[in-house]
Symmetry: C2
Subunit: 214 residues, 2 copies
DNA sequence: TGTACATCAGTGAACGCGCGTTCACTGATGTAC
DNA sequence: TGTACATCAGTGAACGCGCGTTCACTGATGTAC
């Protein structure tokens, strides 16, 4: 399944090389880490000559940035689906959201690496930046709904809450849930660690479970 | 200040090449990221022939692992000093501890990269592993003192608390406080974000500020 | 429907480069007596 | 204190390799008439 869409190999023209290169990058990142693959590698993996990728990407960085962008798009989809507009209750939806974040890091370690660990500068590429912000917007929207449940006095800023949740989750994902060798071993599933952490945090905000729309 | 200890260049024998190579690695990581430097680079930076490093390190990975190990040692020192056995009060000491973590990531981005982002397998090298565990032990010790303040009923496991704090802090450090290009911009200082996060978390644990030994 | 032509997406050979690594070597340092 | 020798820590030349990149090219595809 080297090229998943049009099936069967074709002749002189590959037909879908851009997609194939992205898949190659994902496979090679999974194999050797984000720093461990080369443009030539990707070409070889896709079964084309080393010059072919230049028709589609200026250089290796542009390829990685494209992978990261696609990663953020899929990430946004997954988070949106998990949050599901806060249904049926904010707390249960929020918990799903966190688990979905972690699940993505575990299920798609290659995307996750390209997005967060490949050293691509998010701000340099507007498309990448937009994709990244769309993902964060899901978190932020959820945080807004959550703080809106609280009495107006002493309501924490939604942005802060979103950043906190993001940080906790990203911290757990980076330290304990990645697919590669740098992962630390942990005496419990990372999902449990995250769930407890988020619950304690929300309690600290003054959001006991029963008050949050259950 | 290429070789800081014995000053002045010497002749045929460098005299302190191992140290110089470590410093070279730190400088080059700062410049190009953990993946962006080579063994030959380090030799060049230290002003020796490309074969010289082989007298001190088997390969590039061994050099990076050594840098990471030293990083963890310094990290342990900084954390220990910040925690200061919980004096004068657990909450204020805990806050110092978190800030110190963040400060290290910001002050020593090269060490931090080598420790957490260079893809070295912690478990492969016993010395590295021990150094890493010593750093975590400081966090864990602090968490133990903290939960010991709580009524025995419903006391959370200290290990969990330590892992939570580690994750939050590492998440913030990775996303917002690193020195390199992958850092996201943030509408507030990362230290403030962390402080708020830890305070909310501790409140969620049932540790109001005044009950914690102040 | 057929044909001529333009354009597109790939080839494959070639290049310069820097890296990792080995090797016999040599200058400097330490030590036994 | 001096000398002979062993050991240590570096040299520098050399190698094979794979990468990035360019280039003229060519087969396949699309389009105008």
């Amino acid at each position: 399944m080297k090229w998943g869409k049009g099936d069967g190999p074709r002749g002189y023209h590959h037909g879908d090389l851009k997609e194939a290169l992205v898949r190659a990058a994902l496979a090679l990142i999974a194999e050797k880490g984000p720093a461990g693959f080369t443009f030539a590698d990707a070409a070889r993996w896709a079964g084309v000559s080393p010059a072919a990728p230049y028709r589609h990407f200026r250089d290796r960085d542009e390829l990685i940035a494209d992978v990261a962008r696609r990663g953020f798009e899929q990430f946004t989809l997954a988070l949106t689906k998990a949050w599901d507009d806060g249904k049926p209750g904010l707390m249960v939806a929020f918990d799903r959201l966190g688990k979905s974040y972690l699940d993505f890091a575990k299920r798609e370690p290659s995307y996750y690496s390209a997005m967060f660990e490949a050293g691509v500068s998010i701000d340099a590429d507007p498309q990448l930046r937009a994709a990244s912000e769309a993902a964060f917007a899901v978190l932020r929207g959820a945080a807004e709904k959550l703080v809106a449940q609280m009495p107006p006095k002493g309501r924490p800023p939604a942005l802060m809450v979103a950043l906190h949740i993001w940080s906790m989750t990203h911290g757990i994902a980076s330290l304990f849930a990645r697919g590669d060798a740098a992962r630390r071993t942990l005496p419990m599933p990372p999902e449990d660690l995250l769930e407890a952490s988020v619950l304690i945090y929300l309690r600290g905000l003054g959001l006991p479970e029963q008050s949050a729309g259950r």
